[in-house]
Symmetry: C2
């Protein structure tokens, strides 16, 4: 029961799996209500917020980048090309596999090292792997995951926090 | 740069402080637009979702409960009585003080111990402090924090992820 990077990432993994199941529910309910799932994918909470598809892509990227940057390994770029639910589910599956394959010792060693990442178009930020993980990557990841959930809820999809936390009671 | 419970909680503390500043922005913008802040506090993303005030109260409670249950100390009950922004800010301040006052060694020792907490009206769940922190408390905390942000955005309040992550670049 040690607090490792992997342990912190277990919440991220659980939430990515929850988002995958939420996508299935959204398609099922949209189909019943004769709504094209593409309507949900382009939906936003506000006109100047990102649509559902981008929220999922960004949640995926904050999970992937956390593992790549803290672990110090390769950081594959997953292009933001998804336009359908099966494509978004495939993106989630790719990130889950990437997280699972990361080296636990490297993930822990990286906490003490500096991480440098882009901020905006031309600047970068440097902070320790520990601060990056706990104060940047996690809040960002959950922000986009919860916003994705909120967009579906605002569109009348019948899901709730039990779906967002799916798996937590099966540990 | 050790991954302690306190380090994981630094993201929670940062986000509570961010929510406090977001509340100030919301009041300022509501006042400019001649909107009673109470309208925002009772706003929801969907009719069967909890209103803004409850989202803040729940974010506060998941932070407080994480510290109390993992740390094994006293768990004060903060009644859900807030009806104004200053009262919500006072709730956040109380939780921030509670988190700050917790004993770091107890917070780390608690990761290996079982935590038992209510599930629904009559059942309880038991899991390790580590799983409780990383897979239950954190996802719940960020869920409510991000949903609170989403409610304000959906009401046209001009905030964004920079506000949600306030402080991360000042470390």
């Amino acid at each position: 029961m040690t607090l490792t990077t992997r342990a912190v990432l277990s919440g991220v993994t659980q939430t990515l799996q929850a988002l995958d199941a939420i996508l299935d529910k959204a398609v099922e309910q949209a189909t019943e209500r004769k709504i094209d799932p593409a309507v949900l994918l382009s939906s936003r909470l506000a006109p100047d917020m990102l649509p559902f598809t981008r929220q999922i892509q960004l949640a995926c990227d904050f999970a992937k980048n956390a593992v790549a940057r803290v672990g110090g390994g390769e950081n594959p770029k997953f292009p933001d090309e998804e336009t359908t639910v099966p494509e978004l589910k495939a993106r989630i599956a790719k990130v889950l596999a990437f997280v699972a394959a990361a080296d636990d010792a490297a993930l822990d060693a990286g906490l003490a090292k500096d991480v440098t990442f882009p901020r905006g178009a031309s600047a970068t930020v440097t902070m320790t792997g520990l601060n990056y993980l706990t104060r940047f990557a996690l809040p960002n990841f959950y922000f986009h995951a919860a916003t994705a959930h909120g967009i579906l809820r605002e569109n009348g999809i019948q899901i709730g926090k039990g779906d967002f936390l799916k798996g937590v009671f099966d540990i």
